[in-house]
């Protein structure tokens, strides 16, 4: 133990001591508020706790006022919200999927750490979201990853991408969680600001939901998992160095290193503990470590907790108490256990060789008190730390460039006209980094483990069976298009939701609920704040119309270089339920002689399109029109068609339009197709590359065609006959023919050539 420990007693007797609150990221008025709450200056431990818990990351101080709209959607009783068992505010939302099963899922960002140390940043991102899911009492069953990088050929992308992918795989594979999908997107706006989001989904019986609540005076708080080291507390060292301690602070790493093996045994340990019903409440340790876990547990429970901080098992004996409170060491969990169950709890931990230590006790003091070798070093009302942080209505201004951007329509761009040019464009587009095969990435992820993966990449949605006895399953898809977001953040967010929703529906699952990760620039920039407000408003409005509530998510601000913010990138993950996974609909053409139909309406919509981006480096105009009523009707049709076995394949159209959609359907099983574009829309180019929303291509077996058409008519969905499957080429009648081999070569070569 080095140096001097700041106690509550000292704080009372030295009210004027200088404190480095600004270095810890607190504003003058925030510091004054803390003094007001406590009626004295905070101790350095208290200052550490408030500063991390009141940070943007933990307190949501800039986003809170906007996120409230999501809760309002639920409060107003959207169709679908009755399926929600646990909503925003808990570690993750929980949805009732029927037959007594509940599913919890959430997407979260680990952007900045992945930029600093790609492998460990991405790995610990997966680790963190998996613990969130465990803290609901669920067994994690699958993960997904949403990755965004600068241009595919930029040097920094080459530094970051291989490490990020290896990290996602290294951690997830070692946990034994199948990776069932995700995204890989390249755009200059992410150069220097890669986005690494990760999603986890877990399953439990509805009655087994656990919450992060510390109730019951006398119950014990047990910390279990890895020992605590100095991980991720580079920032707090100022507490030691600048005021209270003359000793030179030991070096503290700002990077966290993950130990997936420890997390794997932690998962098994938790599952046994849950099965034996040994915990009252449970909480993962993520950002803000013990500060967060103890204050949230206490604040959600009966309101009081005492912690013996010196009992925390350490990896680094030089850690000071305030550092222990803030350490973000990975692979740790906190449980609240009744005294009579403690031995049983510890026995399970011992069997898995997991260190477990009683570090605190629940009481009815309404205070969170922290003791260090007999001295009281913190004494705070827990709600003021965990839930009553500052809330800001940040100024917002619609950027003055927005009008000019929208006016810069892609209609001025040169379009291919000859059949030769169209053919070239198709081949060029399937090879574009954003549209090319992602196998180089996804082949590094285990999609088979656990034996319940029914659909995974490159399918539209990941589908996992959750009950082998009945065939009940869930589907998940995530989407987000930052270019659309930049052109119109309100519509961009709605399009992200529309696409994920449609991807779930094409697989045959009924969309139920969503999670989101809102990746934006600095909230202190009024233009960014406007984008954020527009995106959240768009999302909330769309939730209401589609009848799918937001169950939880994450906000990541400050994704910018200098004053250049990333494209506003709300990533939306939609969860659907499918009662019988054998009815799932895959994306690829699987048989010859099926009729191929286009559902939905194609307009001349190329603003923000992949074509404008890849061929012309252009971003301008308006994104495709949002049509939520059409999306909803289309989804209902697709879910019905799947249940009745009417379609053999279905694939949604998005980036790259019909050309890309058909190419992917052909390449899935090397079954060709011949189509005519005459009835789609005016000219072949628009038909092939427009990105109009609410569109899907289906393949229907001859004997089901009448039934399907009747169902589509009843649903009011426009149907255009495209052609028939078969052969070994993608043939657009009268325009061009591309052999499967040539198409595959173009589609498969891009990523290996860039990153091998």
């Amino acid at each position: 133990m080095s140096g001097h420990i700041d106690t509550v007693k000292q704080a009372e007797t030295t009210p004027e001591a200088e404190q480095p609150f600004r270095e810890l990221g607190l504003r003058d008025d925030e510091y004054a508020r803390i003094r007001g709450i406590l009626g004295r200056r905070p101790t350095s431990a208290e200052l550490a706790m408030y500063s991390v818990m009141w940070s943007e990351h933990c307190s949501y101080k800039s986003s809170k006022v906007h996120l409230r709209q999501f809760a309002d959607v639920v409060a107003k009783g959207t169709a679908g919200s009755d399926a929600m068992l646990v909503g925003i505010g808990e570690n993750a939302g929980v949805v009732d999927v029927g037959q007594g099963w509940a599913v919890t899922f959430k997407v979260e960002s680990h952007n900045h750490p992945s930029y600093v140390e790609p492998y460990q940043g991405a790995a610990t991102g997966v680790g963190g979201i998996v613990r969130d899911i465990m803290s609901m009492g669920a067994r994690p069953v699958a993960v997904m990853d949403q990755l965004r990088f600068g241009p595919a050929d930029a040097p920094d992308t080459h530094r970051v991408l291989p490490g990020v992918v290896a990290g996602v795989g290294g951690y997830g594979n070692c946990l034994g969680l199948p990776n069932i999908g995700g995204e890989v997107v390249f755009d200059p706006s992410y150069a220097g600001n890669p986005l690494v989001n990760a999603l986890c989904v877990g399953v439990m019986r509805a009655e087994d939901i656990k919450l992060a609540h510390a109730s019951g005076s006398g119950n014990l708080v047990v910390l279990f998992g890895a020992r605590t080291g100095g991980d991720g507390i580079g920032g707090v060292s100022v507490l030691a160095s600048e005021t209270f301690d003359d000793d030179k602070p030991t070096k503290r790493p700002s990077v966290q290193v993950g130990d997936p093996f420890m997390e794997k045994v932690l998962i098994e340990c938790c599952l046994e503990v849950f099965a034996a019903d040994l915990v009252v409440g449970i909480q993962d340790l993520g950002g803000a470590g013990l500060s967060c876990a103890t204050s949230e547990l206490a604040s959600n429970g009966d309101g009081g907790m005492h912690v013996w901080l010196d009992r925390v098992p350490l990896r680094d004996m030089s850690l000071r108490p305030e550092e222990i409170l803030m350490s973000e060491s990975q692979e740790r969990m906190c449980a609240v256990v009744t005294p009579d169950r403690l031995d049983a709890f510890l026995e399970i931990c011992a069997r898995w060789e997991v260190t477990a230590t009683v570090i605190g006790e629940v009481n009815d003091s309404r205070r969170l008190t922290v003791e260090w070798h007999g001295d009281l070093i913190a004494d705070v009302p827990p709600r003021t730390v965990a839930h009553e942080g500052p809330v800001y209505e940040r100024p917002m201004v619609r950027p003055e460039w927005q009008d000019g951007l929208q006016a810069d329509d892609p209609s001025r761009l040169a379009r291919p006209t000859t059949t030769e040019q169209l053919r070239d464009t198709v081949l060029r587009m399937v090879a574009a980094p954003n549209l090319a095969s992602k196998s180089w990435v996804t082949d590094q992820y285990d999609r088979y483990v656990l034996g319940n993966t029914v659909l995974a990449q490159p399918e539209d949605a990941g589908v996992v069976r959750i009950d082998p006895a009945t065939g009940l399953g869930v589907a998940l898809a995530t989407d987000g298009n930052g270019r659309y977001g930049k052109l119109d953040p309100y519509a961009g967010a709605q399009l992200a939701l529309s696409e994920a929703y449609r991807n779930v529906a094409v697989s045959g699952a009924r969309p139920l609920a969503l999670t989101d990760c809102l990746n934006f620039g600095s909230p202190e920039d009024p233009a960014v704040m406007w984008q954020f407000a527009e995106a959240t408003r768009g999302l909330a409005d769309a939730c209401r119309e589609l009848g799918v509530p937001v169950t939880g998510g994450n906000v990541s601000f400050y994704n910018q270089t200098g004053d250049q913010a990333i494209n506003p990138t709300p990533v939306v993950g939609v969860l659907g339920v499918i009662d019988d996974v054998t009815r799932r609909v895959p994306m690829g053409f699987a048989a010859e002689g099926d009729t191929v139909l286009l559902l939905g309406t194609t307009r001349d919509e190329l603003g923000g399109s992949e074509w404008a981006h890849h061929v012309h480096g252009h971003l301008g105009g308006r994104p495709p029109q949002v049509d939520l009523a059409a999306e909803r009707a289309l989804a209902e049709l697709l879910v019905e068609a799947a249940a009745r076995g009417l379609v053999r394949a279905a694939h949604d159209l998005s980036d790259g339009g019909l050309a890309q959609g058909l190419s992917e359907m052909v390449l899935r099983h090397d079954v060709g197709v011949t189509v005519t574009l005459g009835e789609v829309t005016g000219d072949a180019f628009t038909a092939l590359f427009s990105e109009s929303a609410a569109r899907v291509v289906v393949a229907v077996a001859p004997e089901r065609l009448d039934d399907f058409r009747a169902a589509a008519t009843a649903a009011g969905i426009p149907v255009t006959a495209l052609g028939r499957t078969g052969g070994d080429a993608l043939v657009v009648d009268g325009v061009f023919r591309v052999g499967v081999g040539e198409l595959r070569a173009a589609h498969d070569a891009t990523l290996p050539a860039l990153f091998a």
Binding site: C174, F261, K264, T442, R447, Y448
Partner: protein
């Protein structure tokens, strides 16, 4: 027919192996790494995963688990043992099988549907296949390159101990495209690919993996 599946800390495919055995008609028995006795099982599967995180070398620490002492002893007496992926690595570390498995030559984890040729159908785990039969089952590993010195490789080839071989492009730099081998007697088999992930059409690329499990059951029944 009771077939044990050992769970080490970090085992991942133990549940899948039990499921596959059940589908094939055996009674799967969960064994724990700390067990000092093998509760009356007729055969044992060492499943895939990352035992002890694979931090030192794959399988290096698991080999010293208490249960392995009995597994090694019984294997030497002729009990059928199948090591899949991490299990294969453990068998090599235990010297029940020759050679070793090293980092993939491309240095990446690889998960793919792998075409294989069954080279030997005389081991305890492959009698259900025809010699030369081509099958597709998942492959997923980071350290799947089989290596051994030339005399050992020649002996494996000569004695018919190469059980399955990769078809198409070599996925990991394995010497002589070897995907799985057996000991001299044929009761101990190690495989990098995962037959337990190819037992249901719904979740696997095929059901080609079932044969490994029905083989051992048939052998035990007739024994």
């Amino acid at each position: 027919m009771r077939v044990g599946v050992v769970t080490f800390p970090g085992s991942l495919d133990d549940g899948d192996a039990r499921r596959a055995l059940g589908l094939a008609g055996a009674e799967p028995v969960a064994l724990w790494h700390g067990d000092v006795r093998l509760s009356a099982v007729d055969a044992v599967v060492l499943p895939g995963g990352f035992s002890y995180g694979d931090y030192l070398r794959c399988g290096a620490i698991a080999r010293f688990a208490p249960v392995m002492e009995r597994v090694i002893e019984r294997a030497r007496e002729g009990m059928p043992v199948l090591g899949i992926c991490n299990g294969f690595q453990i068998l090599c570390e235990s010297h029940l099988l020759p050679g070793a498995l090293v980092r993939n030559d491309h240095r990446k984890f690889v998960c793919r549907d792998q075409a294989l040729r069954v080279e030997s159908n005389t081991t305890a785990w492959t009698t259900a296949y025809a010699e030369g039969q081509e099958i597709v089952i998942p492959l997923k590993n980071g350290e799947g390159g089989f290596v051994a010195d030339d005399p050992t490789l020649d002996r494996l080839e000569g004695e018919g101990q190469v059980v399955v071989r990769y078809l198409g492009s070599n996925p990991n730099g394995s010497y002589r495209d070897i995907a799985g081998i057996a000991n001299e007697v044929g009761n101990v088999v190690g495989l990098m690919p995962h037959p337990e992930h190819a037992v249901e059409a719904l979740t696997g690329p095929s059901t080609d993996g079932v044969g490994f499990f029905t083989s051992v059951i048939a052998g035990l029944v007739s024994a």
